[in-house]
Amino acid sequence: MSHSPLSQSTNAARRIGQFLRRGDQFIWLSGGAMGLAALLIVGLLGLVFVSGFTFFWPYNVVTADRADGTPVLGVITNSQEERLDPAGNVMKAAQTQFKVGARELYGFDFIWIKKAELSNFRVDPEVIAFERQEYGDFYGLLHGIEYKGKPVADAATAWALLQEKRPEARDLAARAKKIQRDAIGEVNAEIQRANLKLKVARRKAAGAALDPAFENPLKESLARNQARYEQLRLEAEALSAQAEEYAAVVGTVDGQRKTVPLAAIVRAFRPNQMSKLEKLGMYFSRAAEFVYGEPRESNTEGGVWPAIFGTVIMTLIMSIVVTPFGVVAAFYLREYAKQGPFVRMVRIAINNLAGVPSIVFGVFGLGFFVYFIGGGIDRMFFPDMLPTPTYGTGGILWASLTLALLTVPVVIVATEESIAAVPRGTREGSLALGASKFQTLVNVVLPASVPGILTGVILAMARGAGEVAPLMITGVVKLAPELPLDGHFPFFHLDRKFMHLGFHIYDVGFQSPNIEAAKPMVFTTTLLLIAIVVILNLFAIRLRDHIRKKYQTGAF
């Protein structure tokens, strides 16, 4: 009897001992940690997916009456349940958020209304929704169409006429914009060039008269271009005016009236009449516009094409720079440098470089690339432009180089590892055939380590594509008027500032005047950034697999 507690406790102790010996607790622990990590990732992606994907759906526009009898019209975007304090008193009443549009009339896009004040919810099929070039969305009713200020259609016929005339008006406006951007841009560039030549020549002549044979053609060209500029400007203005001729007369649900030029309507639809299929069509058309379109309204509307383009180009330039740089450095470190405390220290330093806060690289890039190298280039090759900097200011080249510096440790480490993984016998086989060390490295070791090197490049790309902080001080801007790659000589403009999805997210979400309206766009843009990183990676992985198959070494 007296033995029983003792033997029980030893039993328990033995069982615990067994449990500890088997290491079950660690299996559970590591399994749990793995699960948690997976959950976090799924949660993150889920949030981004759900919020990002619903952004383009054309929801019904709902009408409701408020307590004072005035109606409210808009898309229901959010709702909050009643909140009680511990005593059971209502702390915050339940409320619904409407997106009412017509920012220029109301001063806001969104409005919270207590649920208790709302009644008589209904869906009016006649309600129209406009996506506009300016001022965001408009929800309301279409009362008629005006042509040069005179009504040409009433409420009954307006929709049909709007459908007919809007594409023409949009087209005219687009032509006007094209002239303004492309043709006038080119003329301006020529005028600038001619002026610059004159300026330089005048400075060199130091007050003396210029050679007429030199000066006159330039002056002629200036005059010609000035005339051409004037002509283009008039042409663009005429087109714009023509585009503005037709306008829609619309009214809000509480009776305010407004005319909207058809040219300013990006999209007109009657969401409450649309079938699911039509809505799906609109969803995809909006999604496509988001990817391929230009940003509007300080980035809170329209597309993100320039940012996608900037991200991809920057990542590619970075990879092109970082790969040879990292590979050469790794080969030197492993194959030529005398292994010893110094090399060990260099290696530790390189590994730690990967942990330096990225903004530090940004500061370095600004000081070294932008001011020192860029400033030097300007003084040497573009002295006539000064004080306007050409390369002495942030640009896509400097940003890419900064990121290359940031990611080079990744490539070095991966390359060193893959060099070390090349079997000794393979090298000896090459040396035994009378190949020099250099020939062996280039012909045998390098090809065999390409898959490993590409793994490093993939990691570097993944890191670099998502980095924002160093870019903000080396060349990213909120809105870049021109892409770094276009049809104008010399096609690749490495000195240009550019847009970047990562910065775009920050800018849209936290720097825009209309944060509430831009919020869904933050998620959509995030989704796009993730997609681009994934696509770039898949591309590189495909390349690596292709090479790996070609060599079939199985050593990696």
């Binding site: 079997p423 016998g425 393979t426 000896e428 086989g429 090459s430 040396l431 035994a432 055939l433 009378g434 190949a435 020099s436 020939q439 012909n443 045998v444 090809p447 065999a448 070609k550 060599y551 079939q552 070494t553 199985g554």
Partner: protein, 280 residues
């Protein structure tokens, strides 16, 4: 399936001659290709070879036998100075290759390695096509003429008895071949640069009996053109392929004579114990 056991030096009188240690023998008319004198080698503090002296004859197959770690590979790798790659190696003594001191400071190692080819224990084709594997030695020597390369590749693959199996897949990776084929590819690669001497370090240790038989047959055929030194763990193999056999033990050359003598009538009791399978 086995190659018939060769009676080594058959038709030749097994006449023992005359290196200073008195352990070597040579057939009449055969020229001394490699002459080793008082060769000692240290890996750092550890001595791996002790005062080796021997003459290796041209156009013969010489086998190195002995228990693991007795220095066979080390000696072999002296002949093409592969040991240079190992840190902390110190060599004393001399190795003359056709009268030229291979440890001379002004010797071009790359030229030496073109004259002394090597086939390794573990087949080590490059991660390249079969064609490029064979052409490698010529390419690094600067040959770019396609006709020359084509011809050499074919000749070498024929020489290594691999042509029939490989001729339709020259552009495929050399790593896609079977183990025995890979080893013959390495032999083809070695003979493509037309060396004087081919060193083989246990070339069959990773091969199955059929592949082994093929490689041994090949060694027979190559003998007329090349001087071959083969390290082997298999006494039968040494007996089958070699004209002369050297037995090493703990870094020392114990006995070096005609293969028949070493196996039938060894002078040293240690040799006898080893060849009769009593140790090693």
């Amino acid at each position: 399936m086995d190659t018939p056991t060769q009676t080594p030096s058959s038709g030749r009188p097994a006449r023992s001659v005359t290196v200073p240690t008195g352990k070597g023998q040579s057939a009449p008319g055969a020229v001394t290709k490699i002459s080793v004198r008082d060769l000692s080698l240290h890996y750092g503090a550890k001595q791996a070879l002790f005062d080796i002296s021997m003459d290796i004859l041209g156009n013969q197959v010489t086998a190195f036998i002995g228990p693991s770690g007795c220095g066979k590979s080390t000696l072999l790798r002296c002949f093409n100075r592969m040991n240079d790659l190992v840190d902390g190696v110190k060599v004393r003594g001399s190795v003359m290759l056709s009268g030229q001191d291979i440890f001379a400071p002004d010797l071009d190692v790359i030229e030496l390695r073109k004259r002394v080819g090597m086939v390794f224990q573990k087949s080590n084709p490059f991660p390249k096509s079969i064609y490029e594997n064979v052409a490698y030695g010529l390419r690094v020597a600067g040959v770019t003429d396609k006709a020359v390369l084509d011809e050499t590749v074919e000749k070498s693959l024929r020489g290594a008895a691999l042509w029939d199996e490989a001729k339709d897949r020259l552009q495929e990776s050399g790593l896609g071949l079977s183990g025995g084929q890979q080893q013959r590819l390495c032999i083809a690669r070695a003979i493509a640069v037309q060396p004087d001497i081919i060193l083989m370090d246990e070339p069959c240790s990773a091969l199955d009996p059929i592949a082994t038989a093929k490689v041994e047959e090949l060694i027979h055929e190559l003998k007329s053109e090349y001087t071959i030194i083969i390290v082997t763990h298999s006494m039968q193999q040494a007996a089958r392929v070699s004209d002369k056999t050297a037995f090493f033990y703990l870094g020392k050359l114990i006995e070096y004579a005609d293969t028949q003598t070493v196996f039938m009538n060894p002078a040293n009791p240690q040799t006898e114990a080893y060849v009769s399978g009593r140790f090693g």
